[in-house]
Amino acid sequence: MMKSRARIAVIRFPGVNCEDETRRAVESRGMDCDIFMWNGSHERLVEYDGYVLPGGFTYQDRVRAGAIAAKDRVVDCLFDEAQAGKPIIGICNGAQILLESGMVPGITPGKVEMGLARNIMPDRDGYYTRWTHLRIESDSSCVTCVMSKGDVTSIPTAHAEGRFVTTTEGLIDRLFDNGQVVMTYAGLKGEAEPAFPYNPNGSTRGIAAVSNPSGNAVAMMPHPERAVRLAQVPESLPGRWGAERRAAAGSRRILTEPGPGGEVFKSLGAFIAERLRGKRGDA
């Protein structure tokens, strides 16, 4: 019997801190969502239709952000589910886990092919947070499938280790060619490869999100769960979303209208619906 609502598990590792707002963001787009403990039963975990690894500081970022969590048994289970085609989104620290586990970019599945290095910013170091403008580079991933290539959206970032890097020759070009670069940091009008602060961490060619070849596993540094309602958008934000927020000032629309991050979770729901209808099939 076909299920009416997709079920998502948000994985709670020790040290994450965005699991509740991520659950609310998923639910805001009509999906059921549970917070699932990292040491929970794998038999139960595989019953879900999709997974989100939320932001935070797993294992207090000890050794390197995401490095210890990437060795947890639950990641083996998620790896198998991703190979089977289920969507998995890693947000910020979750993205670090997906890269450290070799799930993304997954040219050779399971091989660590990229890193998320310390931010490089002029005259400062460490943690940095700001709203970023993002250009959609691929409209086939599980976080962008309801968007169009070339769209510009705005989502906040907050991290100290978010610079996508690789030593594998030709990998970056290959990721762009394959459509695996899902989002890049952009200027206000979508200009490519902007300088700091539009590129907030010095990421290679402004990469903000990368997927596996099938587009069902995505490592993204921006935090869409912090932008699912228009009320979360600052009035001072330049660009389309700031204008919408200012236009809604003083009305109830602020509380009911979706924000830019909602599109990410809408995409997740659409990706699952399509998969459950069998149009996409197992990867």
Binding site: R62, E113, I120, R163
Partner: protein
């Protein structure tokens, strides 16, 4: 002229980061039989303008004391030396794995020392982590598989191997107690 002094900082109290890393190696990566201990030191390479090594040592001592950004004397112990060998101080059953960022930003400590606290003379401060890995059996030059074991500990290659560095953002080298060091590449 530019002189380099190395400040080595370690916790006096329990190092939870080292404990977490050891626990990951032993229980998540199946190395309980080969790795029995792990300690961590932070090494700061501090480049200063000074007339010579003794003058450099005085300058760095003053910088470390005045800035309070490299260590907290209540919980850290530290030593200042000219550039040490990677294997200095290792016990017979230890190897060292040193991890550095490939293209790290100028460290916050250097920025803070220069622009916020007003210390002059510090030209560069780079940071690396020195992990001291205690093995169940003392390593030897002839030991088969020793370098492979160090790779498995030190360089993330795939889901199951490598913890202490990501080769895309960091470099790692291993140093043995008999006075030899090698770059660690992914397997």
């Amino acid at each position: 002229m530019r002189q380099r002094i190395v400040l080595t900082v370690a916790l006096k109290v329990t190092d939870n980061e080292a404990l977490s890393a050891l626990e990951a190696l032993q229980t998540k990566m199946g190395m309980a039989d080969s790795v029995v201990g792990l300690a961590r030191e932070v090494q700061w390479e501090l480049d200063v303008e000074a007339d010579g090594p003794e003058s450099a040592l005085r300058v760095v001592t003053e910088i470390v004391k005045r800035t309070n950004v490299f260590l907290n004397p209540n919980k850290h112990r530290s030593t200042l030396t000219s550039v040490p060998h990677a294997w200095d101080g290792l016990d017979d059953d230890e190897v060292a794995i040193l991890v550095s960022d490939r293209d790290g930003a100028e460290s916050l400590a250097a920025i803070a020392a220069g622009s916020r606290i007003g210390v002059t003379g510090l030209r560069k401060a780079t940071r690396r982590i020195r992990w001291r890995v205690r093995l169940a059996e003392a390593p030897s030059r002839e030991q088969p598989g020793l370098l492979a074991l160090m790779r498995k500990i030190g360089v993330a290659s795939d889901r199951g191997t490598g913890l202490l560095s990501n080769p895309h953002s960091q470099t790692a080298l291993v140093a043995f107690p008999w006075g030899e060091e090698k770059t660690l590449e992914p397997s």
